[in-house]
């Protein structure tokens, strides 16, 4: 079943917390993964792979480079589920 934007954001926040320890309430749509949340490229890839599994979507390597903010990732995952 497709997840809503809110569900994807909450799920992503949980994955980010698992990988980096950043508290879920810090993870907001406008936050940049690198500049605001200080997530490095390796952690980002771990989060991406876990997100693929959690939301049953494919996020190609080339696409990962375009996902600079949490909002862009949520948007991509929400659309990819459709």
């Amino acid at each position: 079943m497709a997840h809503t934007t809110e569900e994807v954001l909450a799920g992503l926040a949980e994955l980010i917390n698992d990988e980096t320890g950043i508290s879920a309430d810090q993870v907001a749509l406008e936050k940049s993964f690198t500049d605001d949340l200080d997530i490095d490229s390796i952690s980002m890839m771990t989060i991406v792979v876990n997100a693929e599994e959690k939301f049953d979507v494919k996020i190609p390597d080339d696409e990962v480079k375009n996902l600079t903010t949490v909002g862009e990732a949520v948007d991509f995952i929400t659309k990819a589920q459709a």
Binding site: D40, S41, I42, M45, V48, V49, D61, V64
Partner: protein
């Protein structure tokens, strides 16, 4: 009936011994950090590397290979003339031809053993073990010297932030020979050339030759692509290698992955769900990533630190530029 006869070799094979040689210089993160606008902390956090070993100008890949090989030959208790083939896995031979292996065979007194190099990057050593196992069982050679030898510092660019700062120099050697019991499990190996561009040299030799103002080719990688493949795809390969060998993770004494990056090793171990009893090789911390040399170097160190592991089972897996991969369960010498 054909008049031809076919050769037959030993029923089983094993790794009889290992040898190791690391570059003669210790290179700290601080020495590397400047040109990549980085810091000791940044490098440690992203790679787990505290320092790497590199060779001085006077020390070449062949010198590292000779040192490691002599130790392995001596530990195996064989004479060099009992070696029927010398296989060197390397991406840092300084000439296109001839091979490093032919020179090595001569230097260690194994002439006229068959000698050739393998270009399978960080999977090269596991490819070499696969071939040595087959050569000994087929009767093509009684003993095989398999060496991963790299002087990667010849191919790094100090300002490159993708891979150069990870790399070290070293050689690891193994003697593969006949055994009374199975010492080398089935090899699971393969390639994925659709990711040919993910890691490798940044330009062809000829292009650099035609452009005297330009830079010499050096190594670079797309770190995220390689990381994803190296952990999640290789975890599947590692699991399959265990299944093919009829071994469970609980039965392993050690896990010796290619020493690419500590973050890869940690995530890899997590994905495999290895029990805490399994020793995990983490030689990268002080040696750096030495490509084809990393598995035998890491296994050699693990056995020095844990001599009681000898005789136990180890899962070794190499993966790298190609992309290529190879994995097998072996009995620790």
């Amino acid at each position: 009936m054909s008049p031809l006869s076919q050769s037959h070799g030993a029923k089983f094979t094993r790794i009889m011994s290992l040898g190791a040689a690391r570059g003669d210089l210790v290179v700290s993160n601080d020495e590397i950090a400047g040109p990549i606008d980085s810091s000791d902390e940044w490098i440690r956090q992203r790679t787990g590397i505290i320092e790497r070993r590199r060779s001085s100008d006077a020390e070449h890949a062949i010198d590292l290979a000779v040192r490691a090989s002599n130790e392995a030959i001596q530990s195996a208790g064989i004479s060099p003339d009992e070696i029927g083939a010398v296989i060197v896995a390397t991406i840092s031979n300084v000439v296109q031809t001839p091979s490093l292996a032919a020179l090595l065979a001569d230097r260690v007194g194994a002439t006229p053993a068959a000698a050739y190099d393998i270009s399978a990057a960080c999977a090269g050593y596991t490819y070499g073990i696969a071939q040595a196992d087959a050569l000994v069982r087929s009767g093509a050679a009684k003993h095989v010297l398999v060496v991963g030898a790299e002087k990667l510092s010849d191919f790094v660019k100090p300002t490159d932030r993708s891979i150069s700062f990870l790399l070290g120099d070293g050689a690891g050697a193994a003697i593969v020979g006949p055994s009374d019991t199975v010492g080398i499990g089935p090899t699971l190996w393969g390639s994925d050339g659709s990711k040919w561009d993910a890691v490798g040299m940044d330009r062809p030799l000829k292009e650099a030759f035609d452009d005297p103002e330009g830079e010499f080719p050096t190594l670079r990688q797309d770190g995220q692509t390689v990381f994803r493949w190296a952990v999640w795809e290789m975890a599947k390969v590692a699991k399959e290698a265990l299944e093919k060998s009829g071994v469970t993770a609980e039965e392993l004494t050690a896990f010796v992955p290619h020493q690419a990056n500590m973050r890869i090793i940690d995530e890899f171990a997590k994905q495999l769900g290895l029990p805490e009893s399994v020793l995990i090789a983490r030689d990268i911390e002080t040696t750096g990533n030495t490509s084809a040399a990393s598995i035998p170097l890491a296994m050699h160190r693990l056995l020095q630190e844990h001599p009681e592991a000898s005789g136990g089972l180890a899962l070794q897996i190499g993966f790298g530029a190609g992309l290529v991969y190879g994995a097998q369960v072996v009995t620790l010498p």
